[in-house]
Each structure stands twice: as structure tokens, then as C-alpha cells.
Symmetry: C2
Subunit: 402 residues, 2 copies
């Protein structure tokens, strides 16, 4: 039920909101242009800008004399951080409200030392903030991506046996309260599955973004790197699932493999036992391709022309078998392929996978390679943090001015 009555002040809230949205999407705008885009009249647009400027969310670009003044979102109105957690290290990226990167650092995980996750996050953030010339309490939101899925009910992180130090059941609460000193504001902290963040990145910056030739609001992302995972976007929104486990295909039973029972105890079986890195590395060796890891071996096969086809064909068929249930269940318009192994397989693997998939299920989604070569998880974390932050700033403006 809409508890919000349609009172006139609701209008201003709506208009302020769309104005800020437009400013952050389309860059600097004049008052007149903003009026045209929102559908509001010139005087109203002026009032609106004055309000937003007074609230500190918007600033005028320095202009000479009485030329049309350009306004933009004030970069320093908020800062956000994205963190990509892998077993080897924590990568941190800091951005201002416009999405400009203001610092990027990396904190390696020392061998054999299992440090508390909260301490490591604090350390990493402090270092990055120092590099950017701001402080941790100035951050509005921190989004942490990792190879696991936080349960929305409990906050506990599941599916992440490879990340020691991240299984404290109070982790979400502690991250929200122990990052800063006593009297300083705490940034909001979200923990999110890394593949989900990659999907957010695809939707705001990648192949499915607005305006791209493959723009779409219903798609899946298949990530195969060290692990296997999928993310699902439905109607433009990420679908996490009730326990946060949507798209966790690694343990899903697949055709051609014997059924694994007592799944919570058995770590083998399911899709990962035919498509996971160890299985693929073994397959590659049996087909005559070697490498230190599966992605390397696959890359060699993809670059070997016809010689690599037997390996790629077998791999494509295995992956299609894992993708088939996803296609039958949600019938996506598009599946974006990413992660080290799929990137390594490149176009040859993509083509073979498409053919193999279309042979075993009835819907025929397009398969495309991700174009986000560089740090999709970090990019998604930043996008997610910015989206949330903007939302909050809009709402605060509204409340403050009522």
C-alpha cells in the first residue's frame, strides 16, 4: 500500500529526484536544459537548482559573466568505496559522487596469517582514504564483493569455504560499527556476491547497459574463474534469492553426472565437478594442453586454431549442460560470459557453447563475451554503492526541505 499521500510536497520530491538523476547521467546541464529534460518550466527548474545547490548536492561550474551557467553534481558531496576480496588480496577503489576514481590500492594477504576480516577491511580502507586525501568516516557507503553469498536473513556468508576470516556470524554488524572511531559516523557497508557485482557492472557499463546494442533488462551472467557462479538480473534488478543463493550453480546436479546426496557434507559433485577449474585443467591435459592453471590451458587451446577444437568442443558441451537448467528455468534474453576461463576461451569457445546450448534446450538465448576486461567486480561494487548513495541523498534532500 502506498502510505505516501499525494500531497503537493511529494511533487517536489519527485522532481528533485529526477533532476539529480539527470544531472548524474547526462553530466553538466544548464537550467534551461534541465527544464526541457524534466518537462518542467524554466522558473521551476531555477528554483529546483537553487534548492539542490543550497543542499550541497550540486554546484555551478565556474563560468564567465552571464553566460548560461552549467551545473553538475558536486563530486565531494559523497564518497564511496568498492572492495574486491579474493584469497590473495583486497583491492580497494574509491570514487566520488560522480563516479570518478580518486584512489585505488591493493592489500596483499600475508601467507599463513588469518587476520580478522574487519581489521583487514579497516586497514585497506584507511590506506586508500589516505591516498585520496579523505578519511574513512567521510565514506557514505562501502560495498564488498567476494566469492560467496551473504544470506539476506542472517547476514552470514555462505558458499565461501576459500575465505578464512570471513565467517563470523556477526560480520555484517561488525563491519557497520567497527570501521571508524567512537564518535565518527560509520559508512554503510554491504557485502555482496562478486558475480552479482559483475552483473551490476554489465548493466551499468557493459554489454547490457542502456543504449548499448544489446541493452536488456533480463539476462544472466555466467562467471567461470576459480569458481563457478551465475548472476541473474530480472526486470533490471538483481535477483539474489531467498537465502542469497540464486545462481550458485557449482553444486547443482547436472545431466550425465551421478547425483550427489547429502550435499551439505559432500564438497564434490554437481556442475563444478565437470566445469570447475580442476576438472577443466585435467580435461585440458588429457587433450594435450598444459598450463599452470585451467584458464591458461584454455587460452592456449583457443589460440591454437583447429588443434584446440577438441578441447574447446568438449568444454563447451560441459558448460552447456550446466547452462541448460538456467535457460529452462528463467529463459533469459542474453547470457554474458565472463571470468578468467571464459575470457580465455574467447570467441571460439563462445561459438561452440552457443551451438551446444541450442542443441539441448529450446529457448535460444544469445551468448556474448563480457567487454569489461578490467576489474568488473570493483566496477560493480562502485556502481552499487553509488546507486544506493544517490538514493539516500535524494531522500535526505526531500526530508530536509520539507
Amino acid at each position: 500500500m502506498d502510505q505516501v499521500p499525494g500531497t503537493p510536497s511529494l511533487l517536489r520530491a519527485i522532481n528533485d529526484r529526477t533532476a539529480l538523476q539527470l544531472l548524474s547521467e547526462q553530466g553538466p546541464l544548464t537550467r534551461a536544459r534541465l527544464g526541457a529534460l524534466t518537462g518542467l518550466s524554466k522558473p521551476t527548474a531555477t528554483q529546483l537548482m537553487d534548492r539542490l545547490e543550497a543542499a550541497g548536492l550540486v554546484e555551478a561550474l565556474p563560468g564567465e559573466g552571464r553566460t548560461a551557467r552549467l551545473y553538475r553534481v558536486r563530486p565531494g558531496a559523497a564518497y564511496v568505496a568498492g572492495i574486491d576480496v579474493t584469497p590473495a588480496r583486497l583491492r580497494v577503489r574509491l570514487c566520488d559522487l560522480t563516479g570518478e576514481i580518486i584512489a585505488e590500492t591493493s592489500l596483499a594477504t600475508p601467507r599463513r596469517e588469518v587476520k580478522d576480516a574487519v581489521d583487514r577491511v579497516r586497514e585497506a580502507l584507511t590506506e586508500a582514504c589516505a591516498a585520496a586525501g579523505i578519511t574513512v568516516p567521510q565514506l557514505n557507503r562501502v560495498v564488498i564483493g567476494l566469492g560467496g553469498a551473504p544470506d539476506p536473513q542472517t547476514g552470514r556468508i555462505r558458499y565461501a569455504p576459500h575465505l578464512p576470516g570471513w565467517h563470523d556470524p556477526n560480520l555484517p554488524a561488525r563491519l557497520r560499527s567497527e570501521l571508524t572511531g567512537q564518535n565518527e559516523p560509520d559508512p554503510a557497508v554491504d557485502v555482496e556476491n562478486d558475480v552479482n557485482l559483475a552483473a551490476i557492472a554489465e548493466q551499468s557499463l557493459g554489454v547490457t547497459r542502456k543504449g548499448a546494442p544489446l541493452e536488456c533488462r533480463d539476462f544472466a551472467v555466467l562467471w567461470i574463474g576459480d569458481g563457478i557462479g551465475a548472476a541473474i538480473v530480472i526486470d533490471g534488478r538483481l535477483h539474489r534469492g531467498y537465502t542469497g543463493g540464486a545462481g550458485e550453480l557449482g553444486y547443482m546436479p547436472v545431466s550425465g553426472q551421478p547425483l550427489t546426496r547429502n550435499i551439505r557434507r559432500n564438497v564434490n559433485g554437481g556442475f563444478q565437478s565437470i566445469g570447475g577449474a580442476p576438472a577443466v585443467l585435467k580435461l585440458a591435459r588429457s587433450k594435450g594442453f598444459s598450463g599452470s592453471d585451467a584458464a591458461t590451458a584454455v587460452r592456449r587451446a583457443a589460440e591454437a586454431g583447429p588443434l584446440g577444437t577438441p578441447l574447446l568442443q568438449e568444454l563447451a558441451e560441459r558448460l552447456a549442460v550446466g547452462l541448460a537448467p538456467l535457460v529452462a528455468v528463467i529463459d533469459p534474453e542474453l547470457i554474458v560470459l565472463t571470468g578468467a576461463m571464459l575470457q580465455a576461451g574467447g570467441e571460439p569457445l563462445r561459438e561452440l557453447m552457443t551451438a551446444a546450448l541450442h542443441d539441448i534446450v529450446i529457448p535460444r538465448p544469445k551468448l556474448v563475451l563480457s567487454e569489461l576486461a578490467e576489474a568488473p567486480v570493483l566496477a560493480g561494487a562502485i556502481e552499487s554503492a553509488l546507486a544506493q548513495t544517490k538514493q539516500e541523498l535524494f531522500d535526505n534532500t526531500r526530508r530536509g526541505n520539507r
Copy 2:
């Protein structure tokens, strides 16, 4: 982007809309009560009622003198029809705008006579309308449910080999233009998958409805009767998939079965070859239960106590194998079981399925039997038609009064 500028008349549209929503959800209301529910003041609520009454959408209940007048949605402001298409017959239900059933008829399909689908729909609707004392052009919307999936792009019906006469590629267009005479308005016609309609019925009237103990906005419906199908509701909205094939699990490859290639030619294999009616009937016979159809055999097993357990256990394990990919992909909060065979299996089968499913996938959704014993597809068709019709009436009011 919101192209609608936040002009004051937008407010009235919003308020009119929520008012009608409240009236149709909560039954007759006084002006004062409506004001309280919407958060609007008394005078505004009065104006609003006057507008809606003038537009013919609302009427005052006859009241004596100066007691508080009760207003309700005017039943005759719109009529809708739902049709459940099965190979044996067409069932038609007619309702007024308040959802009251005003007629219900059935049209048997003559043997060996493949009549055009449009003709049969027209015939069925004409008969039902005559019984209700209205005419076909008075219908605002007709929703047709059948065991197949219309492709949203093309409108063609797929996955429905059992319905001859329904494969005309122009069917959607013809249904929209050939049901009435030349100068009469045509009702809007939607063709929808029957399991999807059952899911809509669950959400508005069944176990997941608002206020029910198991209310939820993310769930799946598993339907096993003559065929196998699933429907997926995410964030309260039905997910149909890009080609309309979401939840078509029948042809999905499953663990323990050999992979079926060239799926568009081969009609065997996949989930239906272990969980479909013929396979289950065969299984039942091998376990000593007979019956004219699979549901009957399963019912006997469910009523046989421990004697039936071997059959039910095997059946539960098969169905769990088919459900596992759905759970791994979307991680629903709840799965509603319905359709003749699952209803026949009842609580014993549900329990065994729950245990079998929890043994092979990590998320543990609740499995519940549908409580909609009577014609869920028809109920869903009516609900769907009413929802759409209300939407349209609201918008018309807005436009008309602007």
C-alpha cells in the same frame, strides 16, 4: 526515465488510483475511512469520490438519511472473462469488476473435429455472456489459459503440441479482432500459460497471498498433471522469460538421465521422461499400483500408508531431481505444489519431496501444497484480467478528467 513531469495533476492521478485500489481491496468504504487510508484530508476524499462516481467507477450503497454513505466499486463498470483451454474442453468464467462470478460455462471439444480456435472461443464466450445477460462487446478483457507458452515477441504459442487449432501464427491478432461484429468494440485478449495463471491465483487468493501465513513475493509453482511446468514469481511479478519459456522444465536435461541432443526434434528425454504422467504411470505399475492415469495411481499409493511409501519415495526423488536446478538457479522462498498428480500425492508426497530436495541442493525452500482446489487456472485468468482492467480504468479516469 520518468517522462511525466511532476505537475499537480499527477497528484490527482496517483490519488485516484490508490483510492480505487483501496476500494476494490477493502470493500465498501466511507469517505472518511478512505481519507484515513489514503492519508488525504476529508474534503479531498470527498472530491475524489465525486469524481470517481461521475466517471461511473464507483457507486454509493443505498443508505438511509444522513448516515455515513458507503461507496463501493460499481460491479457493472467492467466485465472480464477467463478461459481454461484443455484438449477436452473450454471452461469459461465471467466476472464483474468486483470479481463476483456472474456466469460459468463449459464447451466440450467434439472428437475428431479440429475447429478453428477463434471460432471456439467466440462460441464459448457468446454462450457464457448470454447466461450472464451481457454481450461479448461488453467484456473489457479476456484471458485465455492453456498448456503452452505464447512467445511475447511473436505471439505464437509454443510448447503446446496437444492443442490442435491453436497454432495459427496470427492467433493473437485474430483473437483481438474477430470476436465481435464490425462496429462493436473488441475486448482485449491475452493468451497466457496455464501454470503462470495458477501462480497468479496463488498470489492473489492462495497460500502466498497478502496476509496469509506464507505470504511471499518470490516463489515458484510446480505443476504436474498431464504435463510438467513451473511458474516463477519474482518480486511479486510473474516472470515469463524472453521467449515465454521460463519454467518449461519438461525438456530440461536432468541428472541421472542421458543428455538429449537435437532437442527441437526429439520429443523424449529430459525431466518429463522421469516425472511426466506416462513415466509415473509405468513406475506406479512396477511398484504394484494401478489406475487409469498416473494421478489415480499416485493417490492410491498416498492413501495406502506404508505400503505406498516405496512408490512415493521413488517419485519424490525423481521430482526433487527436476526441482533441484530451479532451486539452484533462483533460490525461491517457497515452492507451491499443484496439478493433479501432486495434489494426488498430497502431504505424504510433499514430505518425501522436501526431504529428497534438501538432500541434493543447498538452499532449503519450503514446499507447500496448493490450497486452491477448485479451478486455479480459471481463478488466475480472472485475477489477471481484473488487474489489467483496473489499471486501464484508472488511466482512463485520469486522462478523461485532466
